[in-house]
């Protein structure tokens, strides 16, 4: 495991890709030069071929677990069975990083299969702190929490999202996963300033960056950006990513692609583009250090 200075332990500082089922065989067969891989642990909480392949891949690449199922923002208690399954898998695969989302998806025993939005209130903050705390204690390690992409705002939501995330991290000791595409999508959809959002995140607590493509849909004559992870990273998001690297320094970065998954080479190409920007940020960092 490679860690970066005084930051949380994490993945290597380079650009990895989200490993999805159509690429597993090719990754095992061709060993592409990629510093690390991220998977959704929910796809491996079983027996059979998937877990067997992951066991093979983890011997060659650092793995990051990017959970989608803990539902840390649920007013209901955490699903203890799911947390146990995650803990067992973390013990087995020993990922370099574990992350989850600032979101909820379970209410009244129904899992709604979406990272649903939260009103940012003191009550929500208490719920999140309790659940992040519980998860970190079960896993025996700090986790990173990712900012969501949003399509709506609540009438009563007095705490700005980046402040909410910063307070959550300070209270629980978790780190933050800054999804630059999500910031861009949310800012567009809710009329916020993406650059100001980035500036409001506590830089020292960010341990990973996510990049992905989004779709532009029209609803009632208005353009709504949909975080579908179905295309190359948009130029505006690359721009924002440069700003994130300038502010946070070089960080492990991940390219995600989940809809209309392209050939592996396309993902590697996107990761290569991110890697070049990380290399630039390293040089800038060195110069800043030398002064």
């Amino acid at each position: 495991m490679i860690s970066d200075g005084g930051r949380l332990p994490g993945a290597p500082v380079g650009a990895g890709i989200g490993l999805r089922a159509p690429h597993v065989g090719e990754v095992i067969a061709t060993h592409p030069a990629i510093p690390w891989l991220e998977v959704h642990p929910e796809n491996y909480m079983n027996g059979g071929a998937a877990l067997c392949a992951l066991e093979q891949i983890r011997r060659e690449y650092p793995i990051s677990f990017h959970g989608v199922g803990l539902s840390l923002g649920s007013a209901d208690a955490l699903d203890e069975r799911h947390l146990r399954r995650l803990t067992t898998l973390v013990e087995r695969v020993e990922p370099a990083l574990v992350s989850e989302h600032l979101a909820w998806s379970i209410t009244g025993g129904a899992y709604l299969n979406h990272l649903l939005p939260l009103p940012y209130t003191e009550q929500s903050l208490d719920v999140l702190c309790r659940h992040v705390d519980q998860a970190q204690r079960a896993l025996g390690r700090p986790i990173l929490i990712e900012n969501p992409s949003s399509y709506l705002r609540f009438r009563y939501s007095p705490i700005p999202e980046p402040e909410f995330l910063g307070e959550l991290a300070r209270r629980t000791g978790c780190g933050l996963l800054c999804d630059v595409n999500n910031i861009y999508v949310t800012a567009h959809n809710l009329g916020l300033d993406a650059g100001a959002y980035l500036d409001a995140l506590p830089a020292e607590l960010v341990g990973e960056i996510h990049l992905a493509g989004h779709a532009r849909n029209e609803a009632d004559g208005q353009i709504v950006l949909i975080d579908d992870h179905g295309s190359r990273v948009a130029s505006e998001v690359w721009q924002l990513y440069r700003g994130a690297l300038a502010r946070f320094g070089p960080l492990p970065t991940l390219v995600e692609w989940d809809t209309d998954i392209p050939p592996l080479a396309v993902l590697l190409d996107e990761a290569g583009a991110a890697d070049r920007l990380i290399a630039d940020a390293r040089v800038t960092d060195l110069h800043a250090g030398a002064r």
Binding site: G47, A75, A110
Partner: protein, 265 residues
């Protein structure tokens, strides 16, 4: 200020029951209606879960066509949302739902085809299990063996249908000759589904073997399971049947049934 639990219950009503009013009252329009914003979330929930069901039930989808499948899936998802985040576990009640779903009740074989697909899905994702070494049975005295209760391979399912669901499944694979047909009157199916290596497979087995293995798989002891098989076929050979179970690596573990332990105690 609404409590978080109330916000989330209102969202569930909006996403699954189509009752937007409470959630819409909590949400800002920001240039759209709150309903249009909720619709973005609803669309994702329903389409992503439909994709998950389609991946588990490709033959059912092919039999009814994608549009009808989408309609049935929408109804199913709203009535039976997933209980947890591992989507390979989602959809187990879909065969029963289809059996009761009026618009496709005339397709009498459809629920059994769905059961076969669910059994294949279960087999793909079942926990790994090491087979039982036949030698461990030597520790069980001969007179106690009739009371053995076995645990079978967790990937195993035993299905019986009055329809030829194995042939229906085979002729509805993407690479099958589209001119092939199925005679629905061509007979019943007794199938064993399991994982071998990484592949979920099924095969037809004789009725007595099916009865025997199903009885064992549902927790009945060896003597009772043999009785079930003998009722079906008077020529059933228990010794050979047991050898076959070991030979096919289907036995995982065993205990002695409680009545026996009481006798021992």
């Amino acid at each position: 200020m609404p409590a978080l639990g109330d916000v989330q219950a209102a969202f569930r009503d909006a996403l699954l029951a189509g009752d937007d009013d409470s959630a819409a009252a909590m949400v800002l329009g920001d240039g759209l209606t709150p309903h249009a914003r909720l619709q973005i979330y609803r669309h994702h929930v329903l389409t992503s879960l439909t994709v998950a069901l389609k991946a588990t039930y490709p033959v059912v989808c092919r039999l009814v066509d994608a549009r009808f499948f989408g309609y049935a899936a929408d109804r199913y998802i709203r009535a039976h949302p997933p209980a947890g985040p591992c989507l390979f576990e989602y959809g187990g009640a879909f065969p029963e739902f289809l059996a009761a779903f009026e618009p496709c009740r005339h397709l009498r074989y459809l629920p059994d085809v769905a059961r076969l697909e669910w059994a294949l899905n279960t087999a793909v994702h079942a926990e790994d299990a090491a087979p039982l070494d036949p030698a461990v049975l030597h520790a069980v005295a001969e007179e106690h063996r009739p009371r053995l209760v076995f645990r079978l391979d967790p990937s195993l399912s035993l299905l019986a249908s009055r329809w030829p669901i194995d042939r229906i499944w085979r002729v509805n694979q993407p690479d099958t000759d589209p001119s092939l047909t199925v005679d629905l009157a061509s007979g019943r199916a007794h199938l064993e589904v399991r994982r071998i290596g990484n592949d979920a497979v099924f095969r037809a087995i004789d009725v007595a073997t099916h009865g025997f293995r199903l009885a064992l798989h549902t927790g009945r002891c060896l003597e009772e399971a043999a009785g079930v098989a003998l009722d079906i076929d008077g020529a059933f050979d228990l010794t050979r049947a047991l050898q076959a179970l070991f030979g096919e690596n289907l036995l995982i573990d065993f205990v002695l049934s409680p009545s026996n332990m009481e006798r021992e105690g």
